[in-house]
Amino acid sequence: MNDWIITAGSAGVVLLMVGIAFALGFRDAAKLDGERIQHLAAAEGAEVEEALVGEDGAAALARLKGGQLLIVRAMGADVSTRVVPASSARLRLRAGRLSVTFGDLGYPSLDMPLKDAPPAWVAELTQGSLR
């Protein structure tokens, strides 16, 4: 019982520390753009054919030469990427947002707000996903 009380107290201390981190302003956010996407693709040994960055700059999708997809998400000031075959990703367009889903518990679906109508290559991929 005593152990569980200490654990509950620890939870309170965790909240306190998170609050302090927040108050100190550790809330940087990476902004994605075309240049960064190209750089990230190059790091994977690939070249970007087309790229689409979400309106908020927090997520992006690129089609690489060779047909694979590069998926990029801002993780605070950092980024996390995945390169997947187009056939393994499910793309959906709904109400000005593009979602990209693929089977990786450590990388949940990407949900990108779009400023404009999606480019043709994305629309094409979306239709491909529906087949």
Binding site: T7, V13, V18, A21, L24, M75, D78, G106
Partner: protein
């Protein structure tokens, strides 16, 4: 099976250390904010701290399994080793050696990596990263690496005490704020050595598995010094795309299950489960070895031929 009683009362070492952890984390946060040296991210720290809390809960729920295994094996001990100073000194070294091999296998075999990957899954390296601990260590049978110690005859409580001391020691080395530490670097695991261990730069992969003493890495050929010209980049090869603690805790286990369910034969089942992280039947995925080989090839190509 009667375990010799320790000659002193063993305090709850980790519980006693927690207030110091909290004070040091807050001090590090303030130092980083004031000086701009080092990095913090609120969401990342929240995840790390939640993982630490979950590790404690998991310990309360299933930690008894590991302790029971220690006492079960202790029945068959080879020697009667009491709580004497020479035995305690020997146990300290033996525990640290056991930790080295646990840690090394936790990087080299996917079954153990599935639990340990959690600790490496932050792209940051600060004191909260130290608390980013697994929830599945006991279920993943990590404790088996310490069973030889109780089989030899070290009292289980003594082994548990030195394990706790090692864990507490390893807290403070998770920082970018401490540079090299002179002669200590020869013997002790230090922030510099452990930064290398957490780095994903090719030249730093699979190095510096030490717990308290770096001598084991020097002895077994896994020591790599920090290179000032190559600052460490932290995290894992496939960086996580989530701060959700549940996804962090179980993502690799689910990955194993998915791979195994698609395996075509026993070789693939064993490869996906006990092969190196990143193993695949056709070699299409990246492993530490393939990344290091590619890096070495690039280095060789960059050196002009004589």
């Amino acid at each position: 099976m009667i375990e010799p009683a320790p000659p002193f009362e063993i305090p709850p070492i980790i519980t006693f250390a927690v207030p110091a952890f909290v004070i040091l984390i807050i001090a590090e946060m303030i130092y980083v904010r004031v000086t701009g040296k080092g990095r913090y991210e609120t969401k990342d720290s929240a995840t790390s701290l939640a993982m630490g809390l979950g590790n404690r809960v998991a310990g309360l729920l299933v930690g008894g399994v590991a302790v029971a295994a220690y006492y079960f094996v202790y029945q068959f001990r080879l020697f009667e080793l009491g709580w004497t100073w020479p035995v305690m000194v020997a146990c300290f070294f033996a525990e640290d050696l056991a930790y080295y091999w646990f840690h090394r296998l936790a990087h080299e075999r996917r079954w153990f990596w599935a639990s340990h990957v959690i600790h490496h899954s932050s792209q940051h390296y600060n004191l909260t990263t130290a608390l980013r601990q697994t929830w599945t260590g006991v279920l993943g049978l990590s404790f088996i690496f310490w069973l030889p110690l109780v089989y030899i005859g070290f009292p289980p409580l003594m082994v548990l005490m030195f394990s706790a001391i090692s864990l507490v020691y390893q807290f403070w080395i998770h920082t970018e704020l401490v540079d090299r530490m002179g002669p200590l670097e020869w013997v002790m695991n230090t922030p510099s050595h452990h930064r290398v261990h957490h780095a994903i730069n090719a030249k730093y992969l699979d190095a510096n598995y030490a717990g308290v003493l770096i001598i084991w890495d020097r002895l077994f050929g896994t020591f790599v010094p920090e290179d000032k010209k190559e600052p460490p980049r932290y995290g894992i090869i496939s960086q996580l795309g989530t701060f959700n603690p549940f996804r962090v805790a179980f993502h690799e286990w689910v990955g194993i299950a998915r791979d195994v369910s698609g395996a075509k034969n026993l070789r693939e089942v064993l490869g996906y489960t006990f092969g190196p992280p990143g193993w695949s039947p056709d070699g299409s995925r990246k492993t530490s070895r393939s990344i290091k080989q590619a890096w070495a090839a690039r280095q060789a190509a960059a050196v002009p031929a004589e």
